[in-house]
């Protein structure tokens, strides 16, 4: 406080001033004229300076005081200012209150233009068939969602109903048909279109063209429709031009309390649509979860990399489950988005997480692979102290005890260098083959789908020789190759801690998902205490397996292993079966067995030195490949290993065999 130093100087001045006044009088009496004059002028000047300094001082002090006492007041001021500012700013940004919207529907082309800007254009052949739906913000005119529902195909109309129901009232809806959109447009969907006020929508016929603009829950703003004259021809192209009046921002937005969270919510909800109750005005679903912290959390400071593409709805679901898992630390999460997509970035911002976009370098599988590399490198750059990273994908649900599972097992990765990874996913852990959430296995295959990577493995081995963009390899297939894996194994739980829900994907389709992923078991019990974690170490595990095999009851090998009766109707027993396996890479019988057990049979997963472990009818069921497996010694001499003939090759495996 310089001011106050000044003040302490001034006080003596004041005192001296009084004395000098007295002296002046004294000098006057002595009648020494020149001296008197001088003293008088001096005194006057002095007094003047004192007055000025005092005035300045008072002004300064007043300012300092108001600054010092200012804390509570500016708080209110600030909030008020904010409240006043926001609406006015928005009002200022949109002087025009009407949007002019053009919608075109025809056999081979659809487009939508808002105020002269094309927001949808699709004239690609053999693509984009069905009803295109666009949602606009009624206050700003921004595109909030763009979807296409191929209602020529079954079930797509259900997705459309689901989507349209989620759109908030008041939004502007635009629909247009490309090629054909009526074949599988069922009554529920038609009823919904009727409720939106559409005339032609509910009556949409084979190869009709149709363009529609309306407000959800409000008036129809324009509609055009052209009937197809004959089965073999299409309706005439229709072009709908209409004006859409914009409403005020206040009407378009909900009145949530002004918190940091709701600010994020507001930003999100004014940009995108189709996320259900997160944008509900009355009762919005929370976007902060604060799950219980884990006692003694060993993975609190392990970075989590979420690998994502352009499936924002998946990412939304995934992040919800991830942020609800006990022991999660949100600041350790980074979402890597493959491409400059806005909507996934909006989802990331909604949850207040870090998002990184990646310019695509290559195509298809190689692109995914390059995205993985960049994401992993970036993760270890951003968290240089981390010794591990958790790798997740956008189409996974994360179990509530995911971090608890890792916290209990991660020390294995440090202590046992015969380990390649810890994965939350058991390839063979289906509803009917997994049972014990406290049980862990060692397997020679790398399951992926939620796993922990050791930094030294990545930095020293994988990163330098990661497949280059011109090699069209799957990163996970590459990681499973013997050159990379070098005989190391992964730790997996019996009951998976992740659930693969993605149906749309590079190597994924609905049929494939239904067959191989839908019935996967997923742990929902919080805080499971894992059993005997240290017995998963290399040597201890062998001891454990030998103990298991010794106490296992040998099944009746004369029965058909595909029959349900192969295993007795008991509970809690351990059974063993021996199958034929001539060499380390002979999986003929195993593949047939896997097929009839309805587990993963597209390649070999989940084996440990020719041994598979799973559950059947709540019994632990061991399968040993004889004679390749070292555990063949446990086979009683009287038993002949089961051999199953592969069926003659006619039907190939459906879809691609990969699960990226």
């Amino acid at each position: 406080m310089d001011d106050w130093k000044a003040s302490s100087l001034i006080k003596p001045f004041g005192a001296r001033k009084k004395r000098s006044w007295y002296l002046t009088w004294k000098y006057k009496l002595t009648n020494q004229r020149a001296l008197r004059r001088f003293c008088q002028t001096g005194a006057v000047l002095f007094l003047l300076v004192t007055v000025i300094v005092n005035i300045k001082l008072i002004l300064d002090t007043r300012r300092a005081i108001s600054e010092a006492n200012g804390d509570p007041e500016p708080e209110q001021d600030y909030d008020e200012a904010l409240g006043r500012l926001e609406p006015s700013r928005r009002r200022g940004s949109g002087p025009r209150r009407v949007l002019d919207v053009e919608v075109y529907s025809s056999r081979s082309k659809v487009y939508v233009a808002v105020d002269g800007t094309t927001v949808l254009e699709d004239e690609a052949r053999e693509q984009g068939r069905g009803i295109h739906v666009i949602v606009l913000n009624q206050a700003t005119g921004h595109v909030m969602a763009k979807r296409v529902f191929d209602t020529y195909s079954p079930h797509e109309d259900e997705a459309m109903v689901l989507f349209l129901n989620m759109v908030a009232p008041g939004r502007v809806l635009i629909c247009t048909v490309k090629d054909e959109g009526s074949f599988h447009l069922k009554d529920t969907a038609k009823a919904l279109l009727r409720s939106l006020g559409s005339q032609a929508g509910p009556a949409l016929g084979w190869r009709d063209t149709w363009a529609f603009v309306g407000r959800k829950g409000g008036p129809v703003l324009g509609e055009k429709h052209s009937k197809s004259p004959a089965l073999s021809s299409w309706g005439d192209p229709v072009l709908l031009k209409t004006d859409v009046p914009l409403s005020s921002a206040e009407e378009a937005e909900c009145h949530w309390a002004d918190t940091e969270l709701n600010r994020r919510r507001r930003r999100f909800c004014s940009k995108v649509e189709g996320y259900g109750s997160v944008c509900s005005c009355k009762d919005p679903t929370p976007i902060e979860f604060s799950p219980d912290p884990l006692p003694d959390n060993k993975v609190l400071n392990v970075p989590v990399a979420v690998i994502a593409g352009n499936r924002p709805n998946y990412l939304y679901r995934m992040l919800r489950s991830l942020l609800s898992a006990q022991g999660v630390s949100p600041q350790m999460i980074t979402v890597f988005i493959d491409g400059y997509y806005e909507e996934p970035m909006d989802v990331v911002a909604l949850f207040g997480l870090r998002g990184i976009q990646h310019t695509p370098i290559s195509i298809k599988n190689a692109r995914v692979s390059q995205h993985y590399k960049a994401s992993l490198t970036a993760t270890f750059n951003l968290f240089p102290e981390a010794r591990f990273a958790v790798v997740l994908e956008e189409d996974l649900d994360i179990a509530v005890d995911f971090f608890s599972f890792l916290s209990q097992s991660i020390h294995l990765l440090e202590e046992d260098d015969s380990l390649y990874c810890i994965s939350a996913w058991n390839d063979q852990g289906y509803e009917h083959t997994a049972e014990d959430p406290a049980l862990l296995y060692r397997v020679e295959t790398m399951p992926g789908l939620g796993w922990v990577l050791r930094k030294s493995l990545y930095k020293e081995e994988l990163e330098p020789k990661w497949p280059t963009p011109e090699k069209l390899w799957d990163w996970d297939m590459w990681m499973r190759m013997p050159e990379q894996r070098r005989g190391r194994e992964c730790i997996i739980p019996d009951v998976s801690r992740s659930y693969h829900f993605g149906i749309v994907g590079l190597n994924m389709n609905g049929y494939f998902h239904e067959a191989y992923f839908k019935k996967h078991k997923f742990n929902t019990v919080p805080g499971v205490q894992l059993r005997n974690v240290d017995s998963l170490k290399k040597e201890a595990y062998e001891v454990e397996i030998h103990r298991l095999l010794s106490e296992a009851e040998v099944l009746d090998h004369s029965k058909n292993p595909c029959e349900d009766s192969f295993l007795p109707d008991t509970e809690g027993h351990t059974y063993v079966a021996f199958i034929r396996m001539e060499k380390d890479d002979d999986f003929t019988t195993w593949t047939q067995l896997a097929k009839c057990l309805h587990i993963w049979d597209l390649d070999v997963r989940g084996n440990h030195r020719g041994l598979w472990r799973l559950f059947r009818k709540k019994n632990h069921f061991l399968v040993v490949g004889v004679p390749a497996s070292p555990y063949s010694v446990k086979k009683p001499p009287s038993i002949t290993p089961i051999f199953l003939e592969p069926p003659p090759k006619e039907e190939g495996a459906p879809g691609a065999a990969e699960q990226t």
Binding site: N54, T377, A378
Partner: protein, 461 residues
């Protein structure tokens, strides 16, 4: 008449000044009570200087950071210097017992704190709370340099600096980010177009003129002027680091362009060499650091860093530079102790010293000692067969930190001049055949060693 007038004027002025004096007293009292009301009345005795703006700003800032769990520590050179002078006493004073404000009340424009970004859990909302407390804050953000090395990633921007002003004093919060190589990095304070250039006197800031790199300091909590703050455990070391903390980033964009033109060598041999060279460099760096010897990347290793942000796979050795004044006689034994035997030694400490150590898999570690003249630097070379001496001239340079193969390491700040001296203007074009006696444009013959000295100046093992 005039005399009476004068008297009247005098009387009036006296009256006025007494009135103002009274005013002043009144305001002073008012001001004091206001300050005490704000909860600062811890000691009853006289507390000198505790009303300074500097102290109040720091006090508020510490209140803010401790209530919001913002992991900060004091890095202000001026105050650390003062604390360091009085270290024993500061450590012994318990909370609140100080009667005199000795450190935070020193007149200055800024107080600098560091924020450990990786420990910060609740970034959101902090800014608003600071503003509600009366701070006016400026946030300077930029893209994350840790993503620069990776092709085509773009993330959300990271905060680099916060400047929070309270009355006439400002807190400069320098955001320290963790980087690979166990060090902390802070960014360049670059004002963007729309920012208020007169917000504070930016020129006077102690940090942010350049990006900087620091060894991660251990921290300790102490009570200074009644305020609890974290400071580096070894303030002297931290203070010494400050003037030499300038950091330069590798030129990742140019390196990518280079690799587009001259594809990267990804053969097994190249990868093995890179791995071994990296390990050798890390081992050398560790050894020299332990000895306290400054060194930098020189010759081919420096070129590799500058041109391609990586080790040049066909360079076959690792090159370091050391100023001759930093030479220590135990360098050789220290390297031997970590499994790097001396391969040859040329020259002597007074002239053209050069050491070579044998790393594993036939990789050589060359250490060139640099001699300083009034207008240039040079290092020497010796041809073993003939005893010929060579001199390599460089323009004068200073040292900067950079990140290379997961390490914080020195390079000449004036890198381009250094490299052009050594490799000419065509350094961008890879050359696989290089004669160290003829190819460099900065080589000069420097006579011949007298035969009598050969035993000393040419030692081959």
């Amino acid at each position: 008449m005039s005399r009476i007038n004068k008297n009247v004027i005098l009387a009036l002025l006296t009256l006025a000044s007494s009135a103002f004096l009274l005013f002043q007293l009144y305001y002073y009292k008012h001001y004091l009570s206001a300050k005490n009301g704000a909860g600062l009345s811890k000691s009853k005795g006289s507390r000198l200087g505790f009303d300074s703006t500097q102290w109040r700003a720091v006090k508020k800032f510490i209140m803010l950071t401790s209530s919001q769990n913002v992991p900060v520590f004091l890095i202000d050179p001026l105050i650390l210097e003062l604390i360091n002078k009085d270290f024993e006493q500061v450590k012994n004073t318990s909370h609140g017992s100080t009667s005199e404000c000795k450190f935070f009340c020193v007149p200055r424009d800024f107080t600098a704190f560091a924020l450990q970004y990786h420990l910060w859990k609740n970034e959101e909302g902090w800014f608003r709370i600071a503003e509600n407390m009366g701070f006016q804050c400026l946030k300077i953000e930029s893209k994350d340099p840790r993503l620069d090395g990776i092709d085509s990633l773009s993330g959300t921007e990271i905060p680099l600096h916060y400047i929070c002003r309270l009355a006439s004093h400002a807190i400069h919060l320098v955001v320290f980010h963790e980087r690979s190589g166990n060090y902390l990095w802070h960014g360049h304070l670059r004002l963007k177009g729309h920012m208020d250039r007169k917000f504070v006197r930016f020129r006077k800031l102690q940090f942010g003129r350049y990006p900087g790199a620091f060894d991660r300091p251990e921290l300790q909590q102490i009570t200074v002027d009644g305020l609890e703050v974290f400071i580096p455990k070894d303030p002297v070391r931290f203070l010494e680091e400050i003037p030499h903390s300038r950091f330069i980033e590798c030129r990742y964009k140019e390196a990518r362009a280079f690799f587009q033109q001259y594809l990267d060598d990804n053969t097994v041999e190249a990868m093995a060499f890179r791995k071994n060279a990296k390990e050798l460099l890390q081992l050398a760096a560790k050894t020299l650091k332990k000895l306290g010897v400054r060194f930098w990347l020189s010759s081919g290793t420096c070129l590799g860093w500058y041109r391609q942000c990586n080790i040049i796979p066909y360079s076959k050795d690792v090159d370091l530079g050391i100023f001759i004044q930093d030479y220590k006689s135990d360098i050789i034994s220290a390297f031997q102790d970590v499994g790097l035997p001396l391969k040859h030694k040329f020259g002597k400490v007074e002239d053209s010293l050069e050491l070579s150590f044998q790393g594993k898999d036939d990789i050589k570690l060359d250490i060139f000692f640099f001699y300083e003249e009034t207008d240039h630097m040079w290092n020497g070379g010796t041809q073993a067969k003939t005893g010929k001496k060579f001199k390599y001239l460089f323009p004068k340079f200073t040292l900067c930190w950079t990140e290379f193969v997961d390490m914080k390491i020195h390079v000449p700040c004036e890198t381009i001049e250094y490299i052009e001296a050594n490799y000419g203007k065509t350094w961008k074009i890879p050359v696989k055949t290089w004669d160290w006696k003829r190819s460099p444009p900065n080589v000069q013959p420097n006579g011949i060693w007298p035969i009598s000295e050969w035993d000393e100046v040419i030692q081959l093992y």
